[in-house]
């Protein structure tokens, strides 16, 4: 089943912002018995979050007046209408409790599931690039494969296998599973791992080579006519606002997974817009062809991430759901993914100084870490369907499943057992 992502942006009634923030806090506080339980029950939602934006000062001291808005982001299985219908049917109370504070929400005494779905659908904004760490894996499949792996692990732990050939062990695992009747999905559904598309990569490479002269000229134009005039971010982490960091930390590092929401403003002008759009197109192709193995530009810890442009392409949102602690981890990715992060974010206002679009920027570690933290937003509510699994676990579990069902040679079987 295909995974999809949706972003819904709704203006908040100006005098109801604080009430909404408080409401989201209460919903969060009671989520284990409330909305998170509902979402668990749907079994089609991987991640979800609500974020109140434009409520307070802009981080670049932009004095443009902004109306507070509510973001709703969902990573889910299947098609949009089915997901929203299921959500609005199952969690109608929560949806009403939240959106009653937003503009043009239908009156509560006459609202229907269709009304709610229609309201949400009419406020969808388009995603620019979406990354999925385990493409093709539905929530149900991820849970099934987790159960499968744990079951096999228990089985292996229960006896000694010293001297037993790997092939024999592989076969014994298979018969054990067959006998248990709990894993019939293994027989009925074939689920391959996604593969790197080498032909696609080759063609993409060709296109880039053909475009190279234009790209070089473009980069020179950006460098000499734009980058030199940029206002750059030159604060260190120690110079960031304490209270804001307290607010962010309040929601972080409880489980093995965390969320990240970021909002930045585009630099003005067509050149910057074309640059970022080009980077998104490139990123989308790379995600499709190359980054389909649980690794985004060398970052092996992201489950779902995406970039969204809105307000007439004047603003960029970035969302990520990942393993570990962003602040601690971010530095580790600079070497591998600095060019990509820089290529995208150098087109947004007040970024660490860049040269030729993809150098400098993220490679200026201290400023980049501080920039990343400073442009982050407090995520008011966050849901994860499988907080106990890392993205590596998810992909490894699928590998186990795929190999399990094959006929293996002794060597292949030995390799299979290493996955467990």
């Amino acid at each position: 089943m295909k995974q999809n992502s949706i972003t819904i942006l709704v203006p908040i009634l100006p005098d109801k912002v604080q009430e909404l923030v408080d409401q989201l806090r209460d919903i969060k506080r009671n989520s284990l018995e409330g909305v998170s339980k509902d979402l668990d029950g749907l079994s089609i939602i991987h991640y979800a979050r609500w974020v109140v934006i434009d409520n307070g000062k802009s981080w670049v001291n932009d004095n443009q007046k902004r109306e507070p808005k509510l973001l709703f982001v969902v990573d889910y299985d299947g098609n949009e209408a089915d997901m929203l219908t299921a959500l609005c049917e199952n969690s109608s109370t929560i949806i009403d409790l939240i959106y009653v504070f937003c503009t043009d929400y239908p009156a509560l005494n006459m609202i229907t599931t269709e009304g709610r779905v229609h309201y949400l659908t009419s406020h969808v904004i388009k995603d620019s690039a979406v990354y999925i760490g385990a493409p093709g894996r539905s929530v149900v499949q991820i849970q099934q494969e987790k159960r499968l792996r744990n079951y096999i692990r228990e089985f292996l732990d229960a006896s000694s296998w010293k001297g037993v050939p790997a092939q024999t062990i592989h076969e014994e695992i298979k018969s054990k599973l067959k006998a248990s009747n709990d894993f019939t999905f293994l027989e009925t559904e074939k689920k391959p791992m996604p593969k790197i598309n080498y032909l696609g990569m080759f063609l993409l490479g060709l296109v880039l080579i053909v475009l190279l002269p234009f790209l070089l000229i473009w980069v020179l134009i950006v460098h000499f006519f734009y980058e030199k005039k940029d206002e750059n971010f030159t604060r260190k982490r120690s110079q960031l606002d304490n209270d804001f960091l307290n607010d962010l930390e309040l929601y972080e590092d409880y489980k093995n997974q965390n969320q990240f929401t970021q909002l930045v403003d585009m630099k003005v002008g067509k050149v910057r817009l074309i640059s970022i759009k080009f980077m998104f197109v490139l990123t989308n192709f790379l995600i499709k062809f190359l980054f389909n193995q649980g690794n985004l530009m060398g970052i092996p810890t992201i489950h779902f991430a995406k970039w969204v442009m809105f307000d007439d392409n004047s603003r960029v949102l970035f969302f990520s759901n990942f393993d570990g602690s962003w602040q601690q981890y971010l530095g580790d990715f600079i070497d591998n993914s600095g060019w990509g992060l820089t290529g995208i974010f150098s087109n947004t206002k007040v970024f660490p100084k860049t040269n030729f679009l993809i150098t400098g920027g993220a490679y200026k570690e201290e400023y980049f870490l501080a920039w990343s933290r400073n442009s982050e937003l407090v995520t008011n509510f966050w849901y994860s369907a499988y907080p106990d699994l890392s993205i590596k676990n998810v992909n490894n579990n699928t590998r186990i499943r795929v190999q399990l069902m094959k006929k293996l040679t002794e060597r292949q079987a030995a390799k299979f057992l290493k996955l467990l």
Partner: protein, 457 residues
């Protein structure tokens, strides 16, 4: 210690900086004076000394907040018996600590003799102690930091073998251990090629001529230059729990202790044998007396963890040339971004644990000390990302078996140690928490010039 009289303390600093160790004699340690000091300040200590609020605010957030801020406590895994509310020092209910004075003594008359060294040290300490009051200092408590001749900690393993070499320090050694100076000292570039986030004097005070300018070119003076942060944690070690677990999980079919297997299991958990030899190079048994072997990697001979398991304490804390599934070069680069310089001192009965020697008298443990310029990316990263998170490498439910285990895992949460093996991996379940945190703090460890500067504020 507490600063009871700031001007007296500053007067003392204006002379005592001469007794602080310096790097001057790194090539010839025999020239180091037989007695010497080191000094480190907490954030509150710098305030008590008279550093202005604006300047105090220029230090890194980790240092300003201290080890017991709620978010830091969560990252560090200081819960249950390790919760700051039960700490004997460094937490909110304890006396606030201003500075940490480290007193060293070395008997120069004969060969290495820890007993004689101690007498020199204690005499020096008593001399200093007699003047604490007139120097504006009040001792809150002291820890008798002991060492063993072969540097063994209480579980019985040799400690402190692997240390990074600061680039440009003049120390020589394995090039994979040479780390950019900015990882450990402010004022130099770090492994990312940029200057670390050093504290700057934003509001003028004291004799600024003593200080170097900010190398980033802000025009401000750098109070961090040649200094670093010191992390200290007092760790109780439960020797009985540690070796009982090894004994239980390696026992003979008749239930008796299998000493050899128990030692081997302990070594698998740790990553080295008790005598220090790395299990990656000596997978079958301890090759015998003291080993300082440190020139090895995992990528070539132990990629699958069959010798040194992925989850072992030392492989996690310093994965060398095999980080996650990265190649050798990137791995080494990543490893170097998370190195710390470690020092340890023992407290309690000097006790060398083993499968047959498992119950020391009273509490024993280790005072963990490390130095780093970026507490978040170095010490805290090691404790959280590589130790507490059970998702290291391809692992599922495996926290660091020595320092990452929780006493009370949440419902359904497993805490295992996986030993990569052929034909199938082995799982050791229900790990016990063998190390409990009893105190700790983040300190600023200034250079000698900056100490002189601090005496002028």
């Amino acid at each position: 210690m507490k600063i009871s009289d700031a001007s007296a303390a500053k007067k003392w600093l204006s002379k005592s900086w001469q007794e602080m160790t310096s790097a001057r004699y790194i090539h010839d340690k025999s020239k180091i004076s037989p007695t010497h000091l080191n000094i480190a300040f907490s954030h509150e200590g710098l305030r008590q000394l008279g550093l202005k609020e604006e300047n105090l605010a220029a230090f890194s957030r980790e240092f300003r907040q201290g080890m017991v801020a709620p978010h830091r406590t969560r990252l560090l895994g200081d819960s249950d018996e390790s919760k700051p509310e039960d700490w004997i020092w460094g937490a909110n209910q304890n006396d606030s600590i201003d500075l940490c004075l480290m007193v060293f003594g070395n008997d120069k008359t004969g060969k290495d003799d820890l007993e004689k060294d101690k007498i020199v040290c204690l005499n020096y300490y008593r001399e200093l102690e007699a003047q604490f009051e007139e120097n504006g200092l009040k001792q809150l408590f002291f820890i008798d930091g002991q060492t063993q001749p072969d540097n063994k900690e209480h579980f019985g393993f040799r400690d402190g073998i692997s240390q990074p070499i600061i680039e440009g320090s003049g120390r020589v050694g394995n090039k994979d251990d040479v780390v950019k100076a900015g990882e450990f000292l402010f004022g130099y570039k770090n492994e990312f090629g940029v200057y670390p986030d050093a504290p700057l004097i934003v509001k003028g005070q004291g004799n600024l001529n003593l200080l170097s300018p900010d190398p980033r070119g802000s025009g401000l003076k750098d109070i961090g230059k040649d200094g670093t942060f010191m992390v200290m944690r007092q760790l109780d070690q439960d020797v009985n729990k540690f070796w009982s677990f090894m004994n239980e999980n390696s026992k003979n079919p008749d239930g008796s202790i299998n000493e050899e297997e128990s030692l081997k299991l302990g070594a698998k958990f740790m990553g080295r044998w008790q005598n220090g030899a790395p299990i990656t190079l000596f997978p079958d048994k301890d090759p015998g007396p003291h080993s300082d072997i440190n020139d090895f990697g995992y990528s070539k001979f132990d990629k699958d963890g069959l010798k040194c398991p992925f989850g072992s304490h030392l492989r996690r804390a310093n994965p060398r040339d095999n980080v996650d599934d990265h190649g050798r070069k990137i791995s080494l680069k990543l490893s170097k971004q998370h190195r710390i310089i470690r020092r340890a001192r023992l407290f309690g009965e000097i006790y060398e644990g083993s499968p047959t020697k498992i119950t020391p008298k009273g509490k024993v443990g280790l005072l963990f000390i490390c130095f780093n310029a970026d507490i978040s990316r170095q010490f805290e990263f090691l404790q959280y990302t590589w130790s507490n998170l059970p998702k290291n490498k391809e692992l599922y439910n495996d926290p660091d078996p020595i320092i990452g285990v929780k006493e009370k895992p949440s419902l359904g949460e497993e805490q295992n140690f996986t030993m990569q093996d052929s034909p199938v991996n082995k799982t050791f379940k229900n790990l016990p928490r063998v190390v409990t945190v009893k105190g700790g703090g983040y300190f600023f460890f200034p250079s000698i010039i900056v100490l002189r500067y601090l005496s002028t504020i």
